[in-house]
Symmetry: C2
Subunit: 222 residues, 2 copies
Protein backbone atom coordinates (compact mmCIF):
# COMPACT_ATOMS: atom_id res chain seq x y z
CA UNK A 1 0.00 0.00 0.00
CA UNK A 2 3.01 2.24 0.54
CA UNK A 3 4.51 3.78 -2.55
CA UNK A 4 7.92 5.15 -3.31
CA UNK A 5 10.62 5.01 -5.93
CA UNK A 6 13.24 2.28 -6.12
CA UNK A 7 13.16 -1.41 -6.90
CA UNK A 8 9.84 -2.25 -8.58
CA UNK A 9 7.57 -4.41 -6.46
CA UNK A 10 7.12 -7.02 -9.24
CA UNK A 11 10.91 -7.55 -9.29
CA UNK A 12 10.91 -8.11 -5.55
CA UNK A 13 7.98 -10.52 -5.88
CA UNK A 14 9.78 -12.46 -8.59
CA UNK A 15 12.91 -12.69 -6.44
CA UNK A 16 11.00 -15.04 -4.15
CA UNK A 17 9.87 -17.08 -7.15
CA UNK A 18 13.39 -17.31 -8.57
CA UNK A 19 14.62 -18.46 -5.18
CA UNK A 20 12.00 -21.16 -4.99
CA UNK A 21 12.94 -22.49 -8.43
CA UNK A 22 16.65 -22.36 -7.55
CA UNK A 23 16.04 -24.41 -4.42
CA UNK A 24 14.26 -27.04 -6.51
CA UNK A 25 17.18 -27.00 -8.97
CA UNK A 26 19.67 -27.40 -6.12
CA UNK A 27 17.69 -30.33 -4.73
CA UNK A 28 18.14 -31.98 -8.14
CA UNK A 29 21.92 -31.50 -7.90
CA UNK A 30 22.16 -29.10 -10.82
CA UNK A 31 25.10 -26.73 -10.37
CA UNK A 32 24.12 -24.04 -12.85
CA UNK A 33 20.97 -22.52 -14.29
CA UNK A 34 20.35 -20.29 -17.32
CA UNK A 35 18.26 -17.13 -17.42
CA UNK A 36 16.14 -19.00 -19.98
CA UNK A 37 15.33 -21.72 -17.47
CA UNK A 38 14.54 -19.17 -14.73
CA UNK A 39 12.38 -17.25 -17.18
CA UNK A 40 10.33 -20.33 -18.01
CA UNK A 41 9.89 -21.27 -14.38
CA UNK A 42 8.65 -17.83 -13.39
CA UNK A 43 6.79 -16.91 -16.57
CA UNK A 44 8.69 -13.81 -17.72
CA UNK A 45 11.18 -13.16 -20.54
CA UNK A 46 14.93 -13.92 -20.34
CA UNK A 47 15.61 -10.21 -20.51
CA UNK A 48 13.30 -9.63 -17.55
CA UNK A 49 15.19 -12.21 -15.48
CA UNK A 50 18.52 -10.53 -16.20
CA UNK A 51 17.06 -7.10 -15.46
CA UNK A 52 15.47 -8.27 -12.19
CA UNK A 53 18.68 -9.86 -10.94
CA UNK A 54 20.72 -6.82 -11.98
CA UNK A 55 18.81 -4.70 -9.44
CA UNK A 56 20.52 -6.70 -6.74
CA UNK A 57 24.02 -7.23 -8.13
CA UNK A 58 26.01 -8.95 -10.88
CA UNK A 59 25.35 -12.67 -10.67
CA UNK A 60 25.75 -14.14 -14.15
CA UNK A 61 28.87 -15.86 -15.51
CA UNK A 62 29.23 -15.58 -19.32
CA UNK A 63 28.97 -18.98 -20.96
CA UNK A 64 28.01 -20.67 -17.69
CA UNK A 65 24.82 -18.94 -16.59
CA UNK A 66 24.14 -18.60 -12.90
CA UNK A 67 25.81 -20.80 -10.28
CA UNK A 68 22.92 -22.18 -8.28
CA UNK A 69 24.61 -22.27 -4.85
CA UNK A 70 26.01 -18.77 -5.24
CA UNK A 71 22.74 -17.31 -6.44
CA UNK A 72 20.73 -18.98 -3.65
CA UNK A 73 23.14 -17.70 -1.01
CA UNK A 74 23.02 -14.14 -2.36
CA UNK A 75 19.25 -14.15 -2.78
CA UNK A 76 18.69 -15.44 0.73
CA UNK A 77 21.00 -12.71 1.97
CA UNK A 78 19.12 -10.07 -0.04
CA UNK A 79 15.77 -11.34 1.23
CA UNK A 80 17.08 -11.62 4.78
CA UNK A 81 16.23 -15.33 4.65
CA UNK A 82 19.71 -16.29 5.89
CA UNK A 83 18.65 -15.22 9.38
CA UNK A 84 15.79 -16.40 11.57
CA UNK A 85 13.07 -13.73 11.69
CA UNK A 86 10.67 -13.80 14.59
CA UNK A 87 7.00 -13.30 13.82
CA UNK A 88 3.86 -13.07 15.91
CA UNK A 89 0.33 -13.89 14.85
CA UNK A 90 -2.79 -12.08 16.01
CA UNK A 91 -6.03 -14.02 15.56
CA UNK A 92 -6.53 -17.68 16.45
CA UNK A 93 -9.59 -18.38 14.30
CA UNK A 94 -9.70 -20.69 11.28
CA UNK A 95 -7.24 -18.66 9.27
CA UNK A 96 -4.97 -18.16 12.28
CA UNK A 97 -4.89 -21.92 12.86
CA UNK A 98 -4.09 -22.52 9.20
CA UNK A 99 -1.23 -20.04 9.43
CA UNK A 100 0.08 -21.63 12.64
CA UNK A 101 0.37 -25.01 10.96
CA UNK A 102 1.70 -23.61 7.69
CA UNK A 103 5.10 -25.20 7.30
CA UNK A 104 6.20 -22.80 4.58
CA UNK A 105 7.07 -20.16 7.18
CA UNK A 106 9.55 -22.38 8.96
CA UNK A 107 11.09 -23.41 5.66
CA UNK A 108 11.80 -19.75 4.95
CA UNK A 109 13.40 -19.25 8.35
CA UNK A 110 10.48 -17.51 10.01
CA UNK A 111 10.00 -18.36 13.66
CA UNK A 112 6.46 -17.91 14.96
CA UNK A 113 7.03 -17.03 18.62
CA UNK A 114 3.54 -16.23 19.91
CA UNK A 115 -0.15 -16.20 19.00
CA UNK A 116 -2.57 -13.60 20.36
CA UNK A 117 -6.34 -13.30 20.47
CA UNK A 118 -8.75 -11.01 22.29
CA UNK A 119 -11.37 -13.74 22.80
CA UNK A 120 -11.38 -14.69 26.49
CA UNK A 121 -12.57 -18.21 25.60
CA UNK A 122 -9.43 -18.74 23.49
CA UNK A 123 -6.80 -17.08 25.68
CA UNK A 124 -4.78 -19.71 27.54
CA UNK A 125 -5.62 -22.57 25.17
CA UNK A 126 -2.61 -24.60 24.05
CA UNK A 127 -1.29 -24.23 20.49
CA UNK A 128 -0.26 -27.71 19.31
CA UNK A 129 1.58 -26.06 16.43
CA UNK A 130 3.81 -24.18 18.90
CA UNK A 131 4.72 -26.70 21.58
CA UNK A 132 4.72 -25.22 25.07
CA UNK A 133 2.95 -22.06 23.93
CA UNK A 134 -0.59 -20.93 24.69
CA UNK A 135 -2.81 -18.36 23.06
CA UNK A 136 -2.00 -15.05 24.71
CA UNK A 137 -3.98 -11.96 25.57
CA UNK A 138 -3.18 -8.80 23.61
CA UNK A 139 -2.18 -7.32 26.97
CA UNK A 140 1.05 -9.33 26.66
CA UNK A 141 1.84 -7.84 23.25
CA UNK A 142 4.30 -5.07 24.21
CA UNK A 143 6.27 -7.38 26.51
CA UNK A 144 6.55 -10.25 24.00
CA UNK A 145 7.53 -7.92 21.14
CA UNK A 146 10.26 -6.36 23.28
CA UNK A 147 11.54 -9.65 24.75
CA UNK A 148 11.86 -11.38 21.36
CA UNK A 149 12.72 -8.28 19.32
CA UNK A 150 9.79 -9.07 17.01
CA UNK A 151 9.58 -6.90 13.91
CA UNK A 152 6.93 -8.76 11.91
CA UNK A 153 3.31 -9.60 12.66
CA UNK A 154 0.54 -11.39 10.82
CA UNK A 155 -2.99 -10.04 11.31
CA UNK A 156 -5.71 -12.71 10.93
CA UNK A 157 -8.60 -11.08 12.80
CA UNK A 158 -12.07 -10.05 11.58
CA UNK A 159 -12.22 -6.85 9.51
CA UNK A 160 -13.78 -4.76 12.25
CA UNK A 161 -10.93 -5.54 14.68
CA UNK A 162 -8.04 -5.16 12.26
CA UNK A 163 -7.32 -1.42 12.51
CA UNK A 164 -7.17 -1.49 16.33
CA UNK A 165 -4.85 -4.52 16.20
CA UNK A 166 -2.61 -2.80 13.64
CA UNK A 167 -2.38 0.25 15.91
CA UNK A 168 -1.51 -1.90 18.93
CA UNK A 169 1.16 -3.75 16.97
CA UNK A 170 2.72 -0.51 15.73
CA UNK A 171 2.67 0.93 19.26
CA UNK A 172 4.39 -2.22 20.56
CA UNK A 173 7.24 -1.72 18.09
CA UNK A 174 6.39 -4.11 15.25
CA UNK A 175 7.64 -2.73 11.93
CA UNK A 176 5.99 -4.92 9.29
CA UNK A 177 2.35 -6.04 9.14
CA UNK A 178 0.98 -8.79 6.93
CA UNK A 179 -2.76 -8.22 6.96
CA UNK A 180 -5.32 -10.87 5.97
CA UNK A 181 -8.40 -8.92 7.11
CA UNK A 182 -10.52 -7.72 4.16
CA UNK A 183 -10.00 -4.08 5.13
CA UNK A 184 -7.79 -1.19 4.00
CA UNK A 185 -5.67 -0.30 7.04
CA UNK A 186 -4.05 3.01 7.83
CA UNK A 187 -0.51 2.90 9.20
CA UNK A 188 1.86 5.55 10.42
CA UNK A 189 5.20 6.29 8.71
CA UNK A 190 7.88 3.71 9.38
CA UNK A 191 5.42 0.80 9.35
CA UNK A 192 5.35 -1.41 6.27
CA UNK A 193 1.97 -2.91 5.48
CA UNK A 194 1.24 -5.71 3.07
CA UNK A 195 -2.35 -6.83 2.63
CA UNK A 196 -3.56 -10.18 1.34
CA UNK A 197 -7.28 -10.03 0.64
CA UNK A 198 -8.31 -13.55 -0.28
CA UNK A 199 -11.54 -12.39 -1.93
CA UNK A 200 -9.61 -9.82 -3.97
CA UNK A 201 -7.28 -12.57 -5.19
CA UNK A 202 -10.28 -14.56 -6.34
CA UNK A 203 -11.92 -11.48 -7.86
CA UNK A 204 -8.77 -10.72 -9.83
CA UNK A 205 -8.60 -14.28 -11.05
CA UNK A 206 -12.25 -14.23 -12.12
CA UNK A 207 -11.62 -10.99 -13.97
CA UNK A 208 -8.65 -12.47 -15.81
CA UNK A 209 -10.65 -15.55 -16.76
CA UNK A 210 -13.41 -13.26 -18.10
CA UNK A 211 -10.94 -11.20 -20.10
CA UNK A 212 -9.40 -14.38 -21.45
CA UNK A 213 -12.81 -15.63 -22.50
CA UNK A 214 -13.39 -12.40 -24.41
CA UNK A 215 -10.03 -12.67 -26.14
CA UNK A 216 -8.58 -9.68 -24.30
CA UNK A 217 -5.28 -9.91 -22.51
CA UNK A 218 -3.87 -8.90 -19.21
CA UNK A 219 -0.41 -8.74 -17.71
CA UNK A 220 0.00 -10.92 -14.68
CA UNK A 221 3.26 -10.87 -12.83
CA UNK A 222 2.51 -12.69 -9.64
Amino acid sequence: MAKSEGIPAPAVRRLSLYLRHLETTQARNHATVSSRELSRAVGVTDAQVRKDLAYFGQFGHPGIGYRVDELIARMRQILGADQVRRVILVGAGNLGRALMSYRGFRKKNFDLVAVFDNDATKIGLPTPELPGERIRSLDDLPRIVAEHDVRLAVIAVPAQAAQAVADQLAAAGVRGLLNFAPMILQTRPGITLSSVDLAVQLEQLAFQVNLGAEGAKISVDS
Copy 2:
Protein backbone atom coordinates in the same frame (compact mmCIF):
# COMPACT_ATOMS: atom_id res chain seq x y z
CA MET B 1 2.27 -16.35 -13.77
CA ALA B 2 0.97 -15.82 -17.28
CA LYS B 3 2.34 -12.86 -19.14
CA SER B 4 1.01 -10.86 -22.02
CA GLU B 5 0.44 -7.31 -23.13
CA GLY B 6 -2.60 -5.26 -22.17
CA ILE B 7 -3.90 -3.83 -18.93
CA PRO B 8 -1.11 -3.80 -16.34
CA ALA B 9 -1.68 -6.23 -13.46
CA PRO B 10 -1.16 -3.51 -10.83
CA ALA B 11 -4.05 -1.52 -12.37
CA VAL B 12 -6.29 -4.58 -12.16
CA ARG B 13 -5.21 -5.15 -8.55
CA ARG B 14 -5.99 -1.54 -7.67
CA LEU B 15 -9.42 -1.82 -9.27
CA SER B 16 -10.42 -4.15 -6.44
CA LEU B 17 -9.02 -1.69 -3.90
CA TYR B 18 -10.86 1.26 -5.45
CA LEU B 19 -14.05 -0.77 -5.38
CA ARG B 20 -13.61 -1.60 -1.71
CA HIS B 21 -13.10 2.08 -0.85
CA LEU B 22 -16.10 3.09 -2.97
CA GLU B 23 -18.31 0.59 -1.14
CA THR B 24 -17.21 2.11 2.19
CA THR B 25 -17.95 5.58 0.80
CA GLN B 26 -21.39 4.47 -0.37
CA ALA B 27 -22.14 2.99 3.04
CA ARG B 28 -21.45 6.47 4.46
CA ASN B 29 -24.01 7.97 2.04
CA HIS B 30 -21.48 10.04 0.11
CA ALA B 31 -22.67 10.54 -3.49
CA THR B 32 -19.37 11.56 -5.09
CA VAL B 33 -15.68 10.93 -4.60
CA SER B 34 -12.58 12.70 -5.95
CA SER B 35 -9.54 11.06 -7.51
CA ARG B 36 -7.61 12.65 -4.63
CA GLU B 37 -9.66 10.73 -2.08
CA LEU B 38 -9.32 7.47 -4.02
CA SER B 39 -5.60 8.06 -4.35
CA ARG B 40 -5.20 8.48 -0.59
CA ALA B 41 -7.26 5.40 0.15
CA VAL B 42 -5.24 3.18 -2.17
CA GLY B 43 -1.82 4.79 -1.75
CA VAL B 44 -1.09 5.98 -5.30
CA THR B 45 -1.02 9.41 -6.95
CA ASP B 46 -4.13 11.22 -8.28
CA ALA B 47 -2.73 10.86 -11.78
CA GLN B 48 -2.39 7.11 -11.27
CA VAL B 49 -6.05 6.83 -10.24
CA ARG B 50 -7.20 8.68 -13.36
CA LYS B 51 -4.91 6.58 -15.55
CA ASP B 52 -6.07 3.31 -13.96
CA LEU B 53 -9.75 4.14 -14.39
CA ALA B 54 -9.17 5.32 -17.96
CA TYR B 55 -8.16 1.77 -18.93
CA PHE B 56 -11.75 0.77 -18.35
CA GLY B 57 -13.73 3.76 -19.62
CA GLN B 58 -14.51 7.43 -19.02
CA PHE B 59 -15.94 7.76 -15.53
CA GLY B 60 -15.08 11.25 -14.23
CA HIS B 61 -17.42 14.28 -14.31
CA PRO B 62 -15.53 17.61 -14.44
CA GLY B 63 -16.13 19.65 -11.31
CA ILE B 64 -17.96 16.76 -9.62
CA GLY B 65 -15.46 13.94 -9.51
CA TYR B 66 -16.76 10.41 -9.69
CA ARG B 67 -20.37 9.48 -8.91
CA VAL B 68 -20.04 6.70 -6.36
CA ASP B 69 -23.07 4.63 -7.42
CA GLU B 70 -22.18 4.85 -11.09
CA LEU B 71 -18.55 3.97 -10.53
CA ILE B 72 -19.40 1.01 -8.26
CA ALA B 73 -21.87 -0.36 -10.80
CA ARG B 74 -19.38 -0.08 -13.67
CA MET B 75 -16.49 -1.53 -11.66
CA ARG B 76 -18.57 -4.49 -10.52
CA GLN B 77 -19.54 -5.04 -14.13
CA ILE B 78 -15.88 -4.82 -15.23
CA LEU B 79 -14.81 -7.22 -12.50
CA GLY B 80 -17.74 -9.53 -13.21
CA ALA B 81 -18.84 -9.01 -9.60
CA ASP B 82 -22.40 -8.15 -10.70
CA GLN B 83 -22.98 -11.87 -11.32
CA VAL B 84 -22.70 -14.83 -9.01
CA ARG B 85 -19.58 -16.84 -9.84
CA ARG B 86 -19.46 -20.44 -8.76
CA VAL B 87 -16.25 -21.69 -7.17
CA ILE B 88 -15.05 -25.02 -5.88
CA LEU B 89 -12.42 -25.66 -3.24
CA VAL B 90 -9.97 -28.56 -3.23
CA GLY B 91 -8.41 -29.31 0.17
CA ALA B 92 -10.30 -29.48 3.45
CA GLY B 93 -7.38 -28.99 5.82
CA ASN B 94 -6.82 -25.97 8.08
CA LEU B 95 -6.49 -23.54 5.22
CA GLY B 96 -9.42 -25.08 3.36
CA ARG B 97 -11.62 -24.70 6.43
CA ALA B 98 -10.52 -21.08 6.82
CA LEU B 99 -11.44 -20.45 3.20
CA MET B 100 -14.81 -22.18 3.61
CA SER B 101 -15.76 -19.85 6.44
CA TYR B 102 -14.29 -16.76 4.81
CA ARG B 103 -17.22 -14.42 4.40
CA GLY B 104 -15.40 -12.12 2.00
CA PHE B 105 -16.09 -14.49 -0.90
CA ARG B 106 -19.85 -14.30 -0.44
CA LYS B 107 -19.68 -10.52 -0.14
CA LYS B 108 -18.04 -10.40 -3.56
CA ASN B 109 -20.70 -12.63 -5.09
CA PHE B 110 -18.69 -15.84 -5.13
CA ASP B 111 -20.69 -18.96 -4.45
CA LEU B 112 -18.70 -21.89 -3.07
CA VAL B 113 -20.60 -24.89 -4.40
CA ALA B 114 -18.47 -27.86 -3.34
CA VAL B 115 -15.40 -28.89 -1.36
CA PHE B 116 -13.16 -31.79 -2.39
CA ASP B 117 -10.45 -33.77 -0.67
CA ASN B 118 -8.61 -37.00 -1.48
CA ASP B 119 -8.36 -38.08 2.16
CA ALA B 120 -10.77 -41.00 2.69
CA THR B 121 -11.19 -40.02 6.36
CA LYS B 122 -12.50 -36.60 5.32
CA ILE B 123 -14.70 -37.55 2.36
CA GLY B 124 -18.37 -37.57 3.38
CA LEU B 125 -17.89 -35.32 6.44
CA PRO B 126 -20.38 -32.46 6.65
CA THR B 127 -19.25 -28.90 5.92
CA PRO B 128 -21.03 -26.63 8.41
CA GLU B 129 -20.02 -23.65 6.28
CA LEU B 130 -21.95 -25.09 3.31
CA PRO B 131 -25.23 -26.35 4.77
CA GLY B 132 -26.35 -29.63 3.25
CA GLU B 133 -22.98 -30.24 1.59
CA ARG B 134 -20.38 -32.86 2.44
CA ILE B 135 -16.72 -33.11 1.54
CA ARG B 136 -16.56 -34.88 -1.79
CA SER B 137 -14.14 -37.25 -3.45
CA LEU B 138 -12.13 -35.91 -6.38
CA ASP B 139 -13.88 -38.60 -8.42
CA ASP B 140 -16.95 -36.31 -8.41
CA LEU B 141 -14.98 -33.39 -9.81
CA PRO B 142 -15.88 -33.63 -13.54
CA ARG B 143 -19.58 -34.09 -12.80
CA ILE B 144 -19.84 -31.18 -10.32
CA VAL B 145 -17.89 -28.83 -12.58
CA ALA B 146 -20.16 -29.66 -15.51
CA GLU B 147 -23.41 -29.53 -13.51
CA HIS B 148 -22.72 -26.13 -11.96
CA ASP B 149 -20.73 -24.69 -14.86
CA VAL B 150 -17.85 -23.98 -12.47
CA ARG B 151 -15.01 -21.94 -13.96
CA LEU B 152 -13.00 -21.11 -10.82
CA ALA B 153 -11.28 -23.31 -8.28
CA VAL B 154 -9.24 -22.71 -5.16
CA ILE B 155 -6.37 -25.13 -4.47
CA ALA B 156 -5.57 -25.54 -0.75
CA VAL B 157 -3.76 -28.88 -0.76
CA PRO B 158 -0.18 -29.77 0.29
CA ALA B 159 2.56 -28.79 -2.18
CA GLN B 160 3.22 -32.34 -3.34
CA ALA B 161 -0.43 -32.84 -4.37
CA ALA B 162 -0.98 -29.46 -6.03
CA GLN B 163 0.18 -30.19 -9.58
CA ALA B 164 -1.98 -33.30 -9.89
CA VAL B 165 -4.99 -31.41 -8.55
CA ALA B 166 -4.36 -28.52 -10.99
CA ASP B 167 -4.25 -31.03 -13.86
CA GLN B 168 -7.50 -32.67 -12.74
CA LEU B 169 -9.22 -29.31 -12.44
CA ALA B 170 -8.09 -28.23 -15.90
CA ALA B 171 -9.22 -31.56 -17.37
CA ALA B 172 -12.63 -31.12 -15.72
CA GLY B 173 -13.08 -27.76 -17.45
CA VAL B 174 -12.14 -25.24 -14.75
CA ARG B 175 -10.60 -22.12 -16.31
CA GLY B 176 -9.11 -20.20 -13.39
CA LEU B 177 -7.03 -21.60 -10.50
CA LEU B 178 -6.23 -19.78 -7.28
CA ASN B 179 -3.37 -21.75 -5.79
CA PHE B 180 -2.34 -21.56 -2.14
CA ALA B 181 0.15 -24.45 -2.24
CA PRO B 182 3.77 -23.26 -1.92
CA MET B 183 4.65 -24.64 -5.33
CA ILE B 184 5.10 -23.27 -8.86
CA LEU B 185 2.44 -25.00 -10.97
CA GLN B 186 2.49 -25.61 -14.70
CA THR B 187 -0.75 -25.02 -16.57
CA ARG B 188 -1.78 -25.51 -20.14
CA PRO B 189 -2.83 -22.62 -22.42
CA GLY B 190 -6.30 -21.29 -21.68
CA ILE B 191 -5.98 -21.82 -17.93
CA THR B 192 -5.37 -18.75 -15.78
CA LEU B 193 -3.33 -19.40 -12.67
CA SER B 194 -2.89 -17.08 -9.73
CA SER B 195 -0.70 -18.19 -6.84
CA VAL B 196 -0.79 -16.94 -3.28
CA ASP B 197 2.24 -18.18 -1.38
CA LEU B 198 1.74 -17.12 2.22
CA ALA B 199 5.43 -17.54 3.07
CA VAL B 200 6.41 -15.46 0.04
CA GLN B 201 4.10 -12.68 1.22
CA LEU B 202 5.84 -12.71 4.58
CA GLU B 203 9.27 -12.91 2.97
CA GLN B 204 8.48 -9.89 0.80
CA LEU B 205 7.28 -7.98 3.83
CA ALA B 206 10.43 -8.86 5.79
CA PHE B 207 12.52 -7.70 2.86
CA GLN B 208 10.67 -4.38 2.68
CA VAL B 209 11.09 -3.85 6.41
CA ASN B 210 14.82 -4.57 6.04
CA LEU B 211 15.14 -2.13 3.15
CA GLY B 212 13.25 0.45 5.15
CA ALA B 213 15.61 -0.02 8.06
CA GLU B 214 18.57 0.60 5.76
CA GLY B 215 16.97 3.74 4.36
CA ALA B 216 16.45 2.19 0.92
CA LYS B 217 13.09 2.33 -0.77
CA ILE B 218 10.85 -0.02 -2.61
CA SER B 219 7.72 0.33 -4.70
CA VAL B 220 4.77 -1.54 -3.28
CA ASP B 221 1.53 -1.50 -5.17
CA SER B 222 -0.50 -4.16 -3.51
